[in-house]
Amino acid sequence: MNVELRGITKRFGSFTAVNNVNLQIRAGEVLGLLGENGAGKSTLMNVLCGLYAATEGQILIDGNPVSFAGPGEAIRAGIGMVHQHFMLIPVFTVAENVVLGVEPTGPLDHLDLVQARAQVREINDAYGLEVDPDALIETLPVGVQQRVEIIKVLFRSADLVIFDEPTAVLTPQEVVEFFAIVRSLRDSGKAIVFITHKLGEIREISDHIAVLRRGEIVGHADHPDAISEADLAELMVGRPVSFDVKRNPNPPGEPLLEVADLTVLNNNDDVAVDDISLMVRSGEIVGIAGVQGNGQSALVEALTGLTRVAGGTVSFKGKDITRASARERHRMGFAHIPEDRQRTGLIPAFSIAENMVLDSYYDDRFSTGPTMRWDVVNKAAAHAVVDFDVRTTSVFDAVSTLSGGNQQKVIVAREMFRDTEFLIASQPTRGLDVGSIEYIHSRIAQARDEGDGVLIVSSELDEILALSDRILVMFKGRIVAEFDGATADKATIGLAMAGRYEGAAA
């Protein structure tokens, strides 16, 4: 199926989200659609899959103009979308989720699950998806859940499959597997649209690339090799972007955080962190690489005082802080950028100002006796907003109204807009656009240059490599390898992340 978008414009009131976009989507090819958050990618695709009606322009399928009154019509026309946020029912099985809404029924109008299972297996085999039709969704890892979404689309006989930021939720291994699936879909003749803001991925998977900025197509590449990552980034952001974080000119200082034989249990009393020892010096960034779910979260919670440790000690500047609470550590100069900004980092319904003091409101600067000094808080928040480049009109705006990048900057501002000594940053740039990533990386490097010890936990290997002076790899709760940040090699670290590194562990 070949689809052509001709002069598509979508306005919301006076706001033009998509402006005169022309695109060719061809069977058997992957079109990479690159753009920052807010560039109009999702709006454009929602027009294509019938959620929005275009204000102007035409959609042609195999040369014939079509118009969709709703998503149902687009699906019947063979256009399927895999959304960034999955739409699955956790307590249903894979087969049940797949057939939901288009259930095959027997002669007595009963649900024919036998047939449903068989059809799921068929699709499974055709594209090598390897999903058990009888597994419950809630028991499946995110990567497999995404494949269920793909099966759903294929089950509805889609010839054009749109992926909206599909890799945002995946681990590096899962990304590799996902790309294999995309290729097998393409090779079977499907047309694919791949929406992302990740430069590396778009060049790896796409046959064509289109770059969207502020609702307009600002650049095309007929072949991914025809354009460099730097050029793509510049097209997307609208200015030259630097990915290199400057290395620390100074040698690291005294040991700041020392962890000895740390063991942490998770909620089910399973060992999450297994006898880890590590050390972070002042003026040094230590990166912890690893596939998500190998104990990083438990390690971070233990280091920040949010969870009890089962064994071992944590000391800070020579003082044992194993039993110190999160607040005590915060007072000692700990800063913590949590891994999930929506769930643990921010209170989305609160104002920017309130979020800015979420962990320092009790401080004498911000309160006298029982009462808050909101005037002081608001002024401090305004300064932090300016200093950390949070794009907003007022500090009283709810954080939920900000883009992901600006939300993350609020957290970074809150944690670093004071004298800190030690920063723990967990997935500090997950899901952010290039501009925000660049900015946050520079602030982290700046903290290091000012003498802070920094511990970065990330499943984005590129991020670890870009920032770290030293790299530790975590696998199954243990630290299995240590590398020098300047000389580390991506492939070797990748092996270690998969638990297959034979070198000397730290």
Partner: protein, 380 residues
């Protein structure tokens, strides 16, 4: 350089400017409740017509509803008298909502607080009023607070959900009151039915308007109500504790990550909520009833949930909702007197108002001309 500074100053200033509440928010807060009340009254009229009440009587009953709630000194006095316990208990529930707790137990807390207050009220003769009344109120609040803190503690220590535990505590409170009312030192002399001794005159909240008419029941509890509204507003929005409550309520995980002690917040929030319900109970025995008997809570603790929801868990909203419910109660009585319409109808109208306020989209759909055109979100 200085020009540069002036520019950044301007930037701070604009950042510190509050955006005017946008039209949608204003409509949700003001227009929707008004329309909800109107629709509920209309549907109430339909319900009356459906039960063979003639149109003239329907008209008469709504006139009575207004005159019985705000049409005379007595009406206003009755409206306020009914509004006081609803607002106090409603504030407690709103506080719980803010802190992420769904407290169904105001009824039980009110009973326990009222019982403690009644005992204090009759057993300490010789105290001057200026000591005795505050003591009665304090003991009532304390008892209600401690009773509610049980549920809070169960939640914090064991994870037992407060909805279940407060419902159970309500049942315990009912029976506990039945039992207490039969104890010799509480039961009124010469009575074999469960009724407490009367509180001493020194423990009664003074009536405010008896100089106008001895039947006006409005008592000093009205100051308690206004004071409580101001206090809870201050607590929620101006204090560290209130910040912790609101943060824990909005996003408990983020609050924990920010170093707030979740268990303490839960116990304190439940305790305070219970104290307000207990205060409502003390207010009833000291200002209205003068004694305790089975079921003196009269469902106030449950109506208070509706008051808190209607007031959007905002202290001033709770006050307005409490006044509205008080007015419906007082006016409903007049409806019965003047038009002979069943008091049950008032219950129906109250329920309808809540349904419509809880469903602003429904109200918007019913009255499209009353609202600005919905703007589709421009977000991606």
């Amino acid at each position: 350089m200085s020009g540069n500074k002036r520019q950044t100053d301007g930037m701070y200033e604009s950042l510190l400017r509050r955006a005017a509440p946008d039209r949608t928010a204003w409509e949700d807060l003001v227009v929707v409740p008004i329309f909800a009340v109107v629709v509920a009254l209309l549907l109430g009229a339909v319900a009356m017509l459906a039960t063979n009440v003639d149109l003239a009587t329907v008209g008469r009953s709504y006139v009575a509803l207004v005159s019985g709630s705000v049409g005379s000194f007595n009406a206003i006095s009755e409206t306020l008298t009914s509004a006081i316990p609803l607002t106090l208990a409603g504030l407690g529930i709103a506080l719980g909502f803010r802190a992420g707790m769904f407290n169904i137990g105001a009824e039980g807390q009110l009973l326990i607080g009222g019982m403690a207050a009644v005992i204090t009220g009759f057993s300490l003769p010789g105290l001057p009023m200026i000591v005795h009344v505050p003591l009665v109120l304090l003991v009532g609040a304390l008892a209600g607070g401690l009773y509610a803190a049980i549920a809070g503690w169960l939640r914090a220590a064991t994870g037992a959900h407060e909805v279940i535990s407060t419902i159970m505590l309500n049942l315990i409170a009912y029976r506990l009151v039945d039992y207490l009312l039969r104890l010799d030192f509480i039961q009124r002399e010469g009575r074999s039915d469960p009724i407490s001794k009367s509180v001493l005159e020194s423990a009664e909240l003074p009536r405010l308007l008896t100089w106008l008419d001895p039947n006006l029941r409005l008592h000093a509890g009205v100051f308690l109500m206004i004071g409580a509204v101001i206090f809870i507003h201050w607590l929620l929005f101006k204090t560290r504790l209130g910040f912790e409550f609101r943060a824990s309520g909005e996003n408990p995980e983020a609050a924990r990550y920010a170093g707030m002690r979740a268990g303490l917040v839960i116990v304190l929030a439940m305790g305070l909520a219970g104290a307000l319900a207990g205060l409502a109970g003390a207010n009833q025995v000291s200002g209205v009833l003068g004694r305790a008997s089975p079921g003196f809570s009269a469902g106030i603790g449950f109506d208070a949930i509706a008051v808190a929801l209607l007031g959007r868990s905002h202290p001033w909203g709770v006050l307005l909702a409490g006044l509205l419910f008080g007015a419906l109660e007082a006016g409903g009585r007049q409806m019965q007197v003047d038009a002979g319409v069943s008091i049950d109808l008032i219950g129906i109208i109250q329920a309808l108002i809540i349904v419509f306020i809880a469903a602003p989209l429904l109200v918007r759909a019913l009255f499209p001309w009353g609202f600005s055109k919905a703007r589709p979100s421009a977000k991606e």
